[in-house]
């Protein structure tokens, strides 16, 4: 048994898993607030990463400036998607809403390929030092940054939901839209804000992945991994999504380890989350922390 590899993969799983968790969290945010299953989550990641890459390479904007501009852009972009495309769909059957987000993901991914090409583009160097020594292990700086940023976003989101006034409004809307409206909460703006925050958080995750691996169309794969993570954690639980993401990230890497050491099937780690997804749907469809009154029929 190759302990060195296992440890390496577990760390990798933790880092990737927290990123999955962050993306799943922003996915659940939209679902909780507006009951929209967003199949375009991965594309939000992709757009954020490309915009930041574009600012940094084409206009030579320094990273500390490029990042906030990207985030502001994504905030506005999220509101725009909600107002222009999803607001008219309120009250339509759930199939139509899902189809619209699927169509959006097609449009965005094709548009990104059209504008930026299909090749992997390396991200400009953000850090000067490549490796840091943590407890005797050589860890890449970008990994540490990724972990730190993810944790910061999770804490920020928790603070936002628990303690801020707007977070309270959002929780109220998620609980019951009509009651929230009668208490003077603008449900419309809560929906728009949910999309805006979700897009921004996804963009942060996108930039982090881009810094580590470079930008390419493959980034939107993170959007697909959201489903196992969110279902495992429970579709309407923000904390569950984070935990689900971490578990899925670890699962992927453990699958990779088992595969490379014992099974030699190849490619198992890409597909393992989907097997997990089917199993979860069979035995515990509401996930670890989801509301159990999701109707079973």
């Amino acid at each position: 048994m190759n302990t060195q590899l296992l440890v390496q993969l577990l760390i990798n799983g933790l880092v990737v898993g927290t990123l999955y968790g962050v993306v799943a969290m922003s996915f659940v945010l939209i679902y909780k607030a507006s009951q929209v299953v967003n199949f375009a989550q991965g594309e939000l990641l992709l757009i954020g990463a490309w915009v930041c890459w574009w600012l940094l390479t084409k206009y030579q904007v320094p990273f500390y400036l490029g990042m906030p501009i990207t985030l502001v852009f994504m905030f506005v972009f999220g509101i725009a998607i909600q107002v222009v495309i999803l607001r008219p769909m309120i009250g339509e059957p759930i199939i139509s809403v899902i189809m619209v987000t699927i169509a959006l993901s097609t449009v965005f991914s094709a548009m990104m390929k059209w504008m930026f090409g299909v090749n992997l583009q390396p991200f400009p160097r953000v850090f000067n030092t490549q490796n840091v020594n943590v407890l005797g292990l050589q860890v890449q700086t970008v990994y540490l940054m990724s972990l730190a940023v993810s944790l910061a976003m999770i804490v920020g989101m928790a603070w936002f939901f628990r303690l801020s006034k707007y977070g309270l409004a959002m929780r109220a809307t998620a609980f019951n839209q009509q009651v929230a409206q009668s208490l003077g909460i603008s449900v419309k703006s809560v929906f728009a804000m949910a999309w805006a925050i979700s897009a921004t958080v996804s963009a942060v995750a996108g930039v982090v992945v881009a810094v580590v691996n470079g930008v390419s169309a493959g980034l939107s794969a993170y959007g697909v991994k959201v489903f196992p993570a969110a279902i495992l954690g429970g579709l309407d639980s923000v904390g569950g999504a984070v935990l689900g993401g971490i578990i899925i990230g670890l699962l992927e890497n453990v699958a990779h380890f088992v595969d490379s050491e014992y099974l030699h099937w190849g490619n198992l780690y890409e597909i393992a989350p989907f097997y997990a997804l089917i199993i979860i749907l069979m035995i515990k469809p509401y996930g670890l922390f989801g509301t159990k009154d999701i109707e079973r029929v």
């Binding site: 339509e92 699927i102 449009v107 548009m111 697909v224 890409e270 989907f274 089917i278 469809p285 029929v297």
Partner: protein, 357 residues
């Protein structure tokens, strides 16, 4: 009453039997027979290219019909249809190569096997809300694609599997001109089967599940059974379509069964009209012709300023993808009932012409 005018100006049915006929009027039945008879001449009139488009419309139309059963009639959503389509293609090729079963029997057999596989993925989710079926089928899409790449005994792995040409009683139907009739026969049979299904108890039960699952359950409809049934039927038609596709191309490679294709299938039924049988065919025709017409357009616009600005030649693939997404959104927002609805409106207009009020 129905016999007296070309298009009756209202519903004059007095019995349940009249209400559940396959064709609403004699005219519509005669028109359908005449249409099928006319299209039989297509191979002699059309060129190779148009003929291949017609065959594609037929093949994808069968698969899209299956998807319309699960999405349009039963109100569940499936995002893995292309994987089942691919599974049908590989199964039919495998059966005819490995067991020397005549291709004639392979096609329906492939449908049955695909239905069985579809049920494995559909079962856990059929007990839950539509949302979960969507996610389970998404997983099915990725798992099946991975399976295609992995199972070399079944699919040939990276080497495309070969499929025998279609044959009946030792008489082989090679080439587009002959294969056209095979596809036509399957299209007619499948569409009649589904039309017939929709007027039976089972078909109405599916619609009841879509319209209000709670009321349906109170009326004694077994929700799990009918959700599973509709999902199995969808996989069956996907399998039949896939098998026809395999024997049409005579090779089956891993390409073209990805999630993009699934989205195209969904686009077909949304554009055609959810829950409309003839609409499915219209939507399929639309989605087959859309990329082709974009191709024609890009050829027509070559070296014009628009071409230079958009870079049509290099980017046509991405523009096509974008067009598919945009069309889905446009139809969902402006014409959620699809082309079938538009067609009905045109008919209604002419029904009372020139006194439309």
């Amino acid at each position: 009453m129905a016999g007296q005018t070309l298009i009756p100006a209202g519903d004059f049915r007095t019995s349940y039997a009249a209400d559940t006929t396959v064709f609403p009027t004699k005219t519509s039945r005669n028109a359908m027979i005449a249409g099928i008879a006319l299209i039989c001449f297509a191979p002699h009139v059309l060129n190779e290219y148009s003929l291949s488009l017609l065959i594609q419309i037929g093949i994808f139309g069968i698969a899209a019909l299956g998807l319309n059963i699960v999405v349009g009639f039963t109100g569940q959503i499936s995002i893995g249809h292309a994987a089942f389509f691919g599974f049908g293609a590989f199964t039919s090729a495998y059966l005819s190569n490995r067991f020397a079963i005549p291709v004639f029997f392979c096609v329906p057999l492939a449908g049955v096997v695909t239905a069985a596989v579809g049920l494995i993925f559909g079962l856990p989710a059929a007990r839950l809300k539509g949302l979960y079926l969507a996610i389970a089928t998404l997983a099915a899409q990725y798992i099946l694609l991975d399976f295609f790449a992995r199972a070399e005994w079944f699919t040939g792995g990276s080497v495309p599997a070969s499929a025998e040409p279609f044959s009946i009683f030792g008489y082989s139907l090679r080439g587009d001109k002959k294969y056209f009739y095979v596809v036509l026969a399957y299209v007619v049979v499948c569409y009649l089967l589904v039309t017939n299904l929709m007027r039976s108890r089972d078909g109405r039960a599916l619609v009841a599940v879509r319209d209000h699952y709670l009321s349906a359950e109170i009326m004694g409809i077994n929700l799990t059974k009918y959700r599973t049934l509709s999902f199995g039927l969808a996989a069956f038609f996907a399998g039949v379509g896939g098998a026809l596709y395999a024997h049409y191309n005579q090779v089956v490679s891993n390409e073209g069964f990805g999630i993009e294709r699934s989205i195209i299938f969904l686009a077909m039924i949304i554009i055609g009209g959810l829950g409309s049988i003839m609409g499915t065919l219209m939507g399929t025709a639309f989605m087959v012709l859309l990329p082709e017409s974009m191709e024609w357009l890009s050829v027509a616009l070559r070296d014009s300023p628009i071409d230079r600005f958009l870079g049509l030649k290099n980017n046509i693939a991405f523009l096509r993808e974008m067009a598919i997404g945009v069309i889905i959104i446009v139809f969902l927002v402006f014409e959620p009932d699809g082309l079938a609805h538009r067609w009905r409106q045109i008919k209604t207009y002419w029904k009372l012409y020139p006194f439309s009020h």
